[in-house]
C-alpha cells in the first residue's frame, strides 16, 4: 500500500530532496548535518518501501564512512586537538568532525535521491520532468542510463558465474577485490557494445517522434504541493545567497 509520501507529485519529492541536499552541502556544523541527514532518513521512513531501501544503505554508507574517516584523518591530521592513534594513523577530534560533515553530506545525498527514485515510477518521473520542459535529448540519455543499470547487474552476475566456473574463488574481501579485475573489462565493453542496439530499439519505439506523446499515467498534483515546491525553491535560493554572503562579505 503506497504511503502519502509515495503518492506525492514526483517534483514535490525532488524539491524536498534538493532542499536537503543543498542544506547538507552548506551546513557548517556536525549537529546541523546530523539533523539534515536525519530528515533525509525520515523521507525513507515515510515510504512504504522503507525496509528494502534501508537494507541497501549499509552498502553505501559503511565503505564511504570508513574511507572518509581514514582519508580525512591522514590528509588533515590536526593533532593539536586530542590526537588519537589508530593503528599508526594519528586522528584528531577536529579531523573526525570534518570527516563526519563529509560523510553526512554523502549520506543525505544518497538517502534523499535514492528514496525519490525508489518510490517514483520511472514513467511518472519522466512525465513530470517532460512537462516542465526537459528536452527529449536529455530524456533519451536518462533512459539509456536507466536501461543499462538492470542489464549490467544481470551481466555482472553472469560474468562472475563464468569466472567462478573457471576456478575464481570469491570468499574473502581481498578475493572479492581481485575478482573485480576480470569483471570490469567484459562488463564495460559489453555495455558499450549494446549501446547501438539500445538506441536502435528506442528509435523503433518512436522515441524520436516529434509529436506530443500520450501519457498513460495521470500525475496527481495540488495547490498545497505547488506551494511546498515553491517554498523549497525559495529555500534553496535563500541558502545559496546566504552562503555567498557569508563567504564573500568582509
Amino acid at each position: 500500500m503506497p504511503s502519502r509520501y509515495d503518492l506525492l507529485h514526483p517534483l514535490t519529492k525532488l524539491s524536498l530532496a534538493l532542499v536537503l541536499i543543498v542544506a547538507a552541502y552548506l551546513s557548517p556544523s556536525v549537529w546541523l548535518s546530523i539533523a539534515i541527514c536525519g530528515a533525509a532518513l525520515l523521507t525513507t521512513a515515510a515510504s512504504h518501501r522503507r525496509g528494502e531501501i534501508a537494507r541497501v544503505y549499509p552498502l553505501f554508507f559503511v565503505p564511504i564512512t570508513i574511507s572518509l574517516l581514514l582519508i580525512r584523518g591522514v590528509l588533515v591530521p590536526d593533532v593539536r586537538t586530542s590526537p588519537i592513534d589508530v593503528g599508526g594513523f594519528v586522528l584528531s577530534l577536529d579531523a573526525i568532525a570534518g570527516a563526519c560533515i563529509y560523510i553526512l553530506r554523502y549520506c543525505t545525498l544518497v538517502a534523499a535521491l535514492f528514496t525519490v527514485i525508489q518510490t517514483t515510477p520511472t514513467a511518472q518521473l519522466m512525465h513530470a520532468l517532460a512537462e516542465r520542459g526537459l528536452p527529449r535529448s536529455i530524456e533519451f540519455i536518462l533512459l539509456m542510463a536507466l536501461q543499462i543499470i538492470p542489464d549490467m547487474k544481470l551481466r555482472a552476475d553472469a560474468i562472475l558465474e563464468a569466472q567462478q566456473s573457471r576456478g575464481l574463488v570469491i570468499a574473502s574481501l581481498p578475493s572479492r577485490i581481485r575478482a573485480l579485475v576480470p569483471l570490469v573489462g567484459p562488463l564495460v565493453v559489453g555495455a558499450l557494445v549494446d549501446v547501438e542496439e539500445r538506441s536502435m530499439a528506442l528509435e523503433l519505439r518512436a522515441f524520436a517522434a516529434t509529436n506530443r506523446p500520450t501519457r498513460m499515467d495521470v500525475l496527481v498534483d495540488s495547490t498545497a504541493q505547488r506551494v511546498v515546491r515553491g517554498a523549497c525553491i525559495g529555500m534553496v535560493i535563500a541558502m545559496g545567497a546566504a552562503a555567498v554572503l557569508v563567504r564573500y562579505l568582509p
Binding site: 520511472t122 538492470p150 509529436n211
Partner: protein, 265 residues
C-alpha cells in the same frame, strides 16, 4: 501469388568509411502475407537490409544509398524510423536491449511506442491487449519487464512490435538468444501472423528453422543476391552452397544436417 509489399531495385548501401558496399545492386520483391527468410554468412548484408527497410539508413547509420526501396508503398530511404513505423518495424535479436527501462509493467512497455506516437489512450489499451493476447502473455501484463525470462521478454518485444500493427514485420536473428521450445513457438507465431496477412521477413542463421517455417529463402553473400527460392529448393540445391568456396564451411555442414533433418510441420 500475393502482390509485392516490399521491393528493392538496384539497392546499394555503403557505410561511411567502408570501401566495399554492404548491399550491392540488390533487386528483390517480397509478397504480402508470406514468411521470407534472409540467410547468408556473417557480413552478407542481412542486418543492413533489415535496418534499411526499417528506415535506419542513411539517417541513423550514415552512408550512401543507391537504387530504390519501398515498403508498403513508402520509401524507407526518404523517411525516418518513426515515420516508417505504421508500415514496418524490426524486432532485434537481443530482447533485453529492447526494453525501454521507463515502463514498470509489460503492458506499459508494449504500449510505449504507441504512446510516443501520440495515439489516444483507449486505442493504446485496446492494441496492447490484442498484442499481448496474440503473443499469449496477457497473464504477464502487470509484471516488470525485467522480471521476465529471456523467452518471455522476446514475446513481449514482439508484442510491442505487433501493437504498432504494421503490415510488415522484420526479425533480425530472432532465435539467437532463445531455447529450442521458444524457437519453435516463435516459428509457429510467425506462421500465424503470416496467415493473418502480415508479411514476415526474418534474417536468420539456422537453416533448420528456415526450412521449417519460411515460404521463401533469399540468400545474400557479400551484399549481393546469391540465390532465391523456396527453402527446399535452396537448401537441396548444392550450387547454392558451393559458390566457388565463398560460402563458409559451417553453412555446408548445416546443409548436410538439413538433408537428413526435419520436415516442415
Amino acid at each position: 501469388m500475393n502482390e509485392a509489399i516490399v521491393t528493392t531495385n538496384g539497392l546499394t548501401f555503403s557505410y561511411t568509411r567502408r570501401t566495399t558496399p554492404a548491399l550491392d545492386q540488390l533487386t528483390i520483391a517480397i509478397a504480402a502475407g508470406t514468411v521470407t527468410a534472409i540467410i547468408g554468412p556473417a557480413g552478407a548484408g542481412k542486418s543492413t537490409l533489415c535496418a534499411l527497410l526499417a528506415g535506419f539508413m542513411p539517417q541513423f547509420f550514415r552512408g550512401v544509398v543507391g537504387g530504390t526501396a519501398t515498403v508498403d508503398g513508402v520509401s524507407p530511404i526518404d523517411g525516418s524510423v518513426h515515420a516508417m513505423l505504421p508500415h514496418v518495424t524490426v524486432v532485434l535479436s537481443q530482447a533485453s536491449t529492447q526494453i525501454s527501462g521507463v515502463c514498470d509493467t509489460v503492458s506499459g512497455e508494449v504500449g510505449f511506442a504507441l504512446a510516443n506516437m501520440g495515439v489516444p489512450v483507449d486505442t493504446i489499451r485496446t492494441r496492447v491487449a490484442t498484442a499481448l493476447a496474440t503473443m499469449e502473455i496477457s497473464h504477464l501484463a502487470e509484471r516488470s519487464p525485467f522480471q521476465l525470462s529471456g523467452g518471455q521478454q522476446q514475446r513481449m518485444v514482439i508484442a510491442a512490435a505487433l501493437a504498432l500493427n504494421p503490415p510488415v514485420l522484420i526479425f533480425d536473428e530472432p532465435t539467437a538468444q532463445l531455447d529450442p521450445p521458444t524457437v519453435a513457438a516463435l516459428g509457429d507465431t510467425m506462421r500465424r501472423l503470416a496467415a493473418t496477412g502480415k508479411t514476415i521477413i526474418v534474417a536468420e542463421q539456422h537453416l533448420d528453422w528456415v526450412a521449417a517455417y519460411a515460404d521463401r529463402v533469399i540468400v545474400l553473400n557479400a551484399g549481393r543476391l546469391h540465390a532465391d527460392g523456396p527453402p527446399q529448393t535452396i537448401i537441396a540445391d548444392p550450387p547454392n552452397w558451393r559458390s566457388g568456396g565463398r560460402m563458409p564451411s559451417d553453412y555446408r555442414a548445416m546443409h548436410s544436417s538439413m538433408m537428413c533433418g526435419r520436415a516442415r510441420p
